[in-house]
Amino acid sequence: MSRLCSLAHVTVVLLALSCATTGAEGEGDRNLPTVGVGPFRKLAPDEVTGIAPFVFDDRVAIYREPAVLAEGQGATILYVVGKPNGKDVIVRTRADDGRAFYGSSSDFGKVPPIVLSADLPWEGPALAGPFALRAPDGVTLYYAAAGGIGVARSSDGITFRKELEPVLVRDPTSAWESTEVHAPTVYVLPDGRFRMFYASGSSIGEAESTDGVHFTRLGPDPVLRPALPAAPGSLLPNEKPPFDTARVGDPCASLRTTPSGRLHIRVLYTGADAAGATAIGFAARFGETGPLERQASPVYSVGAKESAPALLDIGDASYLYVQQDRRVDERLTYTAIAAAYAPGSTHLPTPVAFPDQP
């Protein structure tokens, strides 16, 4: 009997050593690799001040076409098109958390400053499609106007000085540039050369510059065209057809080097189908030149005329800013700036207070 007791004691001790009180939650999915461009989820109601997923809106100014720039200490600068005085201009706003932007409709009594207006002969009455680039001496702002794509520079990000002539205009001999070039986005190669993606007609082209001012096209063909429609019978049940069969535009480019050392050009864009429905797509390539490959699934699609993506890559996560319809009620719908976030499994904390300065 005592032998059995000894055996039992040994067994009990081993069991006690080995057993935890409760099992742990399963993991194995932390720090997974990603190229940082979604898929994005729209912000939830408790993640914004105001109506989710909108972070910058005004039913009079009708903000749209955002460009984003990271600033120190986690602040985010947006340059957006608005018409606070009935004419399309570019205004600047700022948020300390990427979500509570100065001068939004919930930030009563504050008006975002106008940083750029149309005042050159080639620009016509309106500015559009800003893209902000951090430069060693400040901020470079590319924009579109009636006569092509222009550029302005600023040391403080608020007061800009324009180049007097456009940096890129439509090539009338091009077979695909059926409209004036617009929606510029610029990135800088490791050797200092500037590259610009721009939209025209229903496609996206690319140009290069050594100084960021004088651009020449990289080739006669666009780097991204609308997708071909799905072949009959090729879709699974409930599978959606390509979302960008009619038009691609509004490119937003960013550059990274992959963990394998390859140069990776990432481009978010607006895709539209034949019915006019839009979604935000992702195309990319390895290396400096060549056409862009597309991702079949959109990175953001909410059925609200979303377009004009702007990407803020903050390392482990990314913000996507787009313009999309804000439906107030049956009678009132206006365009505003919405935000989305990736990875989708992360819930953001409550937004901080609106900043005092833009």
């Binding site: 005592s2 032998r3 000894s6 055996l7 040994v10 067994t11 081993l14 069991l15 050593l17 080995s18 057993c19 935890a20 099992g23 742990a24 399963g26 993991e27 194995g28 999915d29 932390r30 720090n31 997974l32 690799p33 990603t34 190229v35 461009v37 979604g38 898929p39 699974l236 049940p237 409930n238 599978e239 959606k240 992959t258 963990p259 394998s260 390859r262 990776h264 050009i265 992702f282 195309a283 990319a284 390539r285 390895f286 862009l292 490959e293 597309r294 991702q295 909410v302 059925g303 439906r327 009620d329 049956e330 719908t333």
Partner: protein, 454 residues
């Protein structure tokens, strides 16, 4: 006396309901065998034979009870950052009940790995999501095996048995009325119907002692697929506006164990030194990835007057276009060594070592899927001590074995063919540290303790 006991024990196990399986493939089973690089199909004995070679159960001459514990910690990284792959840890144990039938030695064995975090884990990830396919989920299992072995000749042992798993079938039905504006007023009924259905797979082995110094062995382990079938049916009224019907059926193979065949040998290199070798063929080419096949039907007719402008009706998710996972059969070499460094009347001391190399069976993940794996080199060390007749309280042989293994998965880079892949290029590497011990009490013969005459 022995016969009814063996049959009774075997009967209890073979008719039991459900159990799950199979971390020993990766982390070993029993400290002695793990320390020898798992190269033990011809050299295993005791409870560990339930996994390594059921035939070797017949080598035991007395009742053996074993219990132990191990913990394998993973440091699996992608792009230099840890992915927090869960450790595998728990109790390893078992028993061997030997006896004789018509003067022929035979034995019944039972082997168990009982994890202490979770008995089982079900996980069906999107096929795009990177995961350590062979380490993340499929080792979070309980392992239970029951075997019978016979020794018709002193130089021959033959054994076979079953291991047990459970597949899951479940169904969720929800019906009633949902009030979107006042959720507390919703009235929903739900029914849950879940089955854990037993899945058994066979194993068999043979051991031939060519001489006192040399033995050969062959082992076969069968394949199994652990299915996961889930269904959901929702129907009812939404705030008086419209009705909704939602049917969802998913099927996935949550865990797949490929069939394996082992050829092994042991050779007494010197009086106190034994060398061992195993070659394990693993039929990875038959692998079925744990991706859920989704079949959804959604029917929400628009309310009279159409949908309000502020409401976007939900759409049914698309069926999954499953990308096949290509894997290759592999032969895994194992090498082991055991040195009896101490031999006295009451104590034997052992030093053990081993090595195994497992080349990854998964093809480079250049496309949509991200089943991450790397080659694995495993180095193992162990110590053991056996004490005989120490006290009258426990006059059996008492063995304590310790093991420590280090697995290195060297870094390699996955390069994607499509630049617009959401995951992109990544590097991956890993390290696994596995520590454990086993305690075995071995009696001389059935019902009699060491030092007592029958």
């Amino acid at each position: 006396m022995a016969r009814p006991s063996i049959l009774l024990a075997a009967g209890i196990v073979l008719t039991s309901g459900t159990a799950l399986a199979n971390p020993p493939d990766t982390y070993g089973f029993g400290s002695r065998e793990t320390a020898m690089g798992n190269a033990v199909s011809a050299e295993t004995r005791g409870f560990a034979a339930n996994y390594y070679n059921p035939a070797a159960l017949a080598r035991s001459r007395g009742l053996e009870l074993s219990i132990g514990y191990f913990r394998a910690d993973h440091s699996m990284q992608m792009n230099g950052r840890d992915n927090a792959v869960d450790p595998v840890k728990g109790i390893n144990g078992g028993l061997v009940v030997p006896g004789r039938v018509f003067s022929i030695p035979l034995a019944f064995g039972l082997g168990l790995h009982l994890p202490d975090d979770r008995i089982s884990r079900v996980r069906a990830l999107r096929q795009e999501q990177p995961r350590w396919e062979l380490y993340d989920n499929r080792n979070q299992r309980l392992f239970l095996a029951a075997n019978l072995a016979v020794e018709p000749f002193p130089w021959l042992q033959v054994g076979a048995g079953l291991s047990f798993m459970s597949s899951t079938r479940g169904r969720l039905d929800i019906s009633g009325a949902a009030n979107v504006l006042l959720p507390d007023d919703s009235q929903l009924r739900h029914e849950v119907d879940a089955d854990l259905t037993a899945v058994r797979y066979p194993q068999a082995g043979i051991r031939v002692a060519l001489s006192d110094d040399v033995a050969l062995a062959a082992v076969y382990r069968g394949e199994f697929q652990l299915g996961l079938d889930l269904g959901a049916h929702l129907s009812g009224d939404i705030t008086g506006l419209t009705t909704a019907r939602y049917d969802l059926e998913t099927h996935s193979v949550n865990n797949f164990l490929p069939q394996q065949a082992v050829l092994g040998g042991s050779w007494k290199l010197a009086k106190n030194v034994t060398g061992t070798f195993d070659a394990t063929w693993v039929n990875w080419a038959a692998y079925v990835p744990p991706v859920a096949q989704l079949d959804v039907a959604l029917d929400i007719p628009p309310p009279s007057g159409g949908w309000p402008a502020t409401i976007s009706p939900p759409q049914a998710p698309a069926a999954t276009r499953i990308v096949p996972l290509r894997m290759h059969d592999r032969v895994i070499p194992h090498f082991g060594m055991e040195w009896r460094a101490l031999a006295t009347r009451h104590f034997d001391g052992f030093v053990r070592g081993g090595y195994e190399y497992s080349r990854t069976p998964i093809e480079p993940q250049t496309g949509l899927t991200n089943y991450v794996d790397r080659d694995r080199h495993t180095f193992s060390l162990g110590l053991g001590v056996t004490a005989r007749g120490l006290t009258h309280v426990l006059p059996a042989d008492l063995s304590l074995d310790l093991h420590a293994t280090l697995s290195e998965l060297p870094e390699d880079t996955t390069r994607k063919a499509n630049a617009a892949d959401f995951v992109g290029d990544y590097t991956a590497r890993g390290r696994i540290v596995n520590l454990g011990l086993s305690l075995t009490v071995a009696f001389d013969s059935w019902g009699k303790l060491t030092g007592e005459e029958p």
